[in-house]
C-alpha cells in the first residue's frame, strides 16, 4: 500500500469517528423522544430519519450539494458566518455522513429505549432519582447493547459510504478521499493489486463489525435464553 492509501484509511477513520460522536450526541435525545412520545409527529419524524435507508446516496448527496452550495440556504448561512461553503471540505463530508448514517444510530437506540418500558423509570422515581439522574443511572446502563449496536453500525456504515462522499466531498486526496473512493481510483487506474489490499481490509473490517453486533445484540442474547 502507498502513502495515499494510508492517507485514505486515516481520513476514513477520522470521518467515521467524528460522525459517530455527533450521532451519539444528536441521536440519543431523538431516539429517546421517538421511543417515548405519543405525539402525532412521531410518524413523520420516523419517516424522515429512515429516508437515507431507501434513498440512493446520490439523491441525498445531490440535495445536500444544492443546500450547502453557494446559492443554497445552508450555504447562505455558512457564508454569512464567514465559514465559506461546505461542499468539498471535511466538515461538509461530516454533515452529509451524519445524515446518511442517522437511521443506523437511531433504530438500535430507539428499540433499546422502548424495550426498557415505564417500570424501571417509575421504580427509579420512587427511589428519589430525578428524571435526568434516572436517564444516566438506569436508562443508559440498561440500553447499553443498543448504544453498542448503534455506535458500531453508524461507524461501519460511514466507513462504507461512497455515493454521498463523491457527491459532496469529491475526490481530494487527504481531505475528502476516503477508502471506498480510493479503491474506485485504483480500479479505474487498473491497479488491481492495490485495490485488492484495500478491498480485503474493508471485507475483514465489515465482517468483524457484524460479528460483534450479532454476538452482543440483545435480541440474539434474549433468543438464546428463551
Amino acid at each position: 500500500m502507498n502513502a495515499q492509501d494510508f492517507d485514505a484509511i486515516w481520513l476514513t477513520v477520522k470521518l467515521a469517528s467524528t460522525v459517530t460522536v455527533f450521532l451519539l450526541l444528536i441521536g440519543t435525545p431523538i431516539s429517546w423522544w421517538l421511543a417515548r412520545t405519543r405525539s402525532r409527529l412521531k410518524g413523520v419524524v420516523s419517516a424522515v430519519v429512515a429516508l437515507p435507508l431507501v434513498l440512493p446516496p446520490t439523491v441525498l448527496g445531490f440535495y445536500l450539494l444544492l443546500a450547502m452550495g453557494p446559492n443554497g440556504p445552508v450555504g447562505h448561512i455558512t457564508q454569512a458566518l464567514g465559514l465559506g461553503v461546505l461542499p468539498f471540505t471535511f466538515p461538509g463530508l461530516v454533515i452529509a455522513s451524519i445524515l446518511y448514517s442517522f437511521p443506523f444510530m437511531i433504530q438500535p437506540l430507539q428499540n433499546a429505549f422502548a424495550a426498557i418500558g415505564d417500570r424501571p423509570l417509575e421504580v427509579a422515581a420512587t427511589l428519589r432519582a430525578s428524571p435526568w439522574n434516572t436517564f444516566w443511572s438506569v436508562v443508559v446502563p440498561l440500553a447499553r447493547p443498543g448504544f453498542l449496536s448503534g455506535t458500531i453500525l453508524a461507524f461501519a456504515h460511514t466507513v462504507g459510504e461512497f455515493g454521498v462522499v463523491l457527491m459532496i466531498g469529491g475526490n481530494i486526496p487527504g481531505r475528502t478521499r476516503v477508502v471506498s473512493v480510493q479503491i474506485y481510483d485504483h480500479v479505474e487506474a487498473l491497479e488491481y493489486t492495490q485495490g485488492h489490499w484495500l478491498a480485503a481490509c474493508m471485507m475483514v473490517f465489515s465482517f468483524a463489525v457484524l460479528l460483534t453486533v450479532y454476538t452482543f445484540n440483545p435480541q440474539t442474547v434474549r433468543g438464546r435464553e428463551a
Partner: protein, 358 residues
C-alpha cells in the same frame, strides 16, 4: 401521628376513580377489592405516578398534591417507598447496588436504616453480591421491600407484593411483613385482593369497588359489618385480637379477647403474646339455650345486633356482640325462623374452628 388524607378523581372513560379517604398515620391500611376496583390506580395516584386532575394528598403537614392550589410534588421528591407487584429490580445492578440506589440519593442525616440491618431484617444479608436474575421470586420481592425501606420513607406503599408468588413464597415473606408492621412507625398502604393477607396484616381496611370506597374503618369493625355488598360477604368472618393467657395441661391454649376467651390447640408463643385469629361466619352456629353435652369447646354468650340475607339463597348473616367484640355467623333462613333470631336476641355462639393468623 401523620394522618393521611387522600382525595382523587380520575376519569378514564371506561373507568372512574372517585375516592375521599382519611387514613390512620400508622399501622397497615389494606386497600381491598377485586381486580379492576381501582386499588392500584389509587396507589399510583398517591405516589404521584399518575396525576389526578382533581387531587389532594397530604401526609400530616406535608402536602404532596393539591390541584386547587396547583401543587404537585413529583414522585422523586416525595418521601415514600413503593413496592411493585413484580419486584422490578434493576437487572444491571447487584442486590447491594439495588439497595444502595435509593439509600445514596437521600441526605445522610435523613437516613433511618442501615443497609446491613435492613438486609438482616429481610433475610437477604447473604445475597448482597448476587445479580437479580439469580434470585428466586421471594428473594427478589424481599430485596424490593428492603430497597424501598432504605429510602427512609414516611409512607410505604405496597402493591400486592405477594400476588406473583406461590403459597410457599408467600408464607416465606409474610413474617417479614409482620415484622415491618411491628417495627415501623410509619403508615403502610397495602393493596391486596387476598382476604387472608388482609386479615393477617391490616389494621385498617378500605374496601373498593368500581373505583369507589365501599367501606373504610378499623379492620375488626369493618370485617364485622354485614351490610356491605354481597361481593364482600362471600368470605365473611371476623378477626379477633387476642392475648395468649395460659397453656393448659391437656395441650390447649387459652386466648383472651375483650368480652371472653377461646381455646385453641397448644401455642408455643410466650404467654402474653398477641395473636390474631380469624373466625369464619360459616364456622359459627347459634343456639338459644346453652348447649350441654357437645364436643364444641368454644361456646360464648352474645347478643344479636342485625340480620341480613346473603347472595346464597336460604342463608342469612347474623351480626352479634360478645361483650364489645363483634362476631358474624352464617346460618340458614330456616334456622333463623325456627329460633326466631332477630336484633336483640340473646344467643349462645358455638365456634367450630378458629384460624390463628399470627
Amino acid at each position: 401521628m401523620n394522618i393521611v388524607r387522600a382525595t382523587f378523581r380520575i376519569d378514564r372513560g371506561d373507568f372512574q376513580l372517585e375516592v375521599d379517604l382519611t387514613l390512620p398515620g400508622r399501622g397497615v391500611t389494606a386497600l381491598f377489592g377485586h381486580s379492576g376496583s381501582g386499588k392500584t390506580t389509587l396507589l399510583r395516584a398517591i405516589a404521584g405516578l399518575e396525576r389526578a386532575k382533581l387531587g389532594l394528598f397530604s401526609l400530616g403537614d406535608t402536602v404532596w398534591q393539591d390541584e386547587s392550589r396547583d401543587i404537585f410534588v413529583p414522585t422523586h421528591l416525595r418521601a415514600l417507598g413503593y413496592v411493585f407487584q413484580e419486584a422490578s429490580l434493576f437487572e444491571h445492578l447487584t442486590v447491594k447496588g439495588n439497595l444502595e440506589f435509593g439509600l445514596k440519593r437521600i441526605a445522610e442525616p435523613k437516613r433511618r436504616f442501615n443497609l446491613f440491618e435492613v438486609a438482616e431484617l429481610l433475610g437477604i444479608g447473604n445475597l448482597l453480591e448476587r445479580r437479580p436474575v439469580s434470585l428466586s421470586g421471594g428473594e427478589r420481592q424481599r430485596v424490593a421491600i428492603a430497597r424501598a425501606l432504605l429510602t427512609a420513607p414516611q409512607l410505604l406503599l405496597m402493591d400486592e407484593p405477594l400476588a406473583s408468588l406461590d403459597l410457599k413464597r408467600k408464607l416465606e415473606i409474610l413474617p417479614y411483613l409482620e415484622r415491618l408492621h411491628d417495627e415501623l412507625s410509619i403508615p403502610i398502604i397495602y393493596v391486596s385482593h387476598s382476604p387472608d393477607e388482609v386479615a393477617r396484616l391490616a389494621d385498617h381496611l378500605v374496601l373498593l369497588d368500581e373505583g369507589k370506597v365501599v367501606a373504610s374503618g378499623l379492620l375488626t369493625e369493618t370485617l364485622a359489618r354485614i351490610d356491605l355488598p354481597p361481593t364482600f360477604a362471600d368470605d365473611a368472618g371476623v378477626v379477633l385480637e387476642t392475648v395468649l393467657s395460659s397453656n393448659e395441661a391437656d395441650s390447649l391454649s387459652r386466648l383472651d379477647f375483650q368480652g371472653g376467651s377461646i381455646y385453641v390447640g397448644q401455642r408455643y408463643e410466650a404467654l402474653g403474646s398477641r395473636l390474631r385469629c380469624r373466625i369464619h361466619a360459616r364456622d359459627v352456629s347459634l343456639a338459644l339455650v346453652k348447649p350441654q353435652a357437645t364436643s364444641i369447646l368454644n361456646i360464648l354468650e352474645g347478643r344479636v345486633t342485625s340480620v341480613v340475607s346473603t347472595n346464597t339463597p336460604g342463608h342469612v348473616l347474623v351480626q352479634l356482640y360478645v361483650g364489645p367484640t363483634p362476631i358474624v355467623a352464617r346460618i340458614t333462613e330456616r334456622s333463623r325462623r325456627d329460633l326466631s333470631i332477630q336484633p336483640g336476641s340473646r344467643v349462645w355462639v358455638q365456634i367450630k374452628s378458629v384460624a390463628i393468623l399470627a
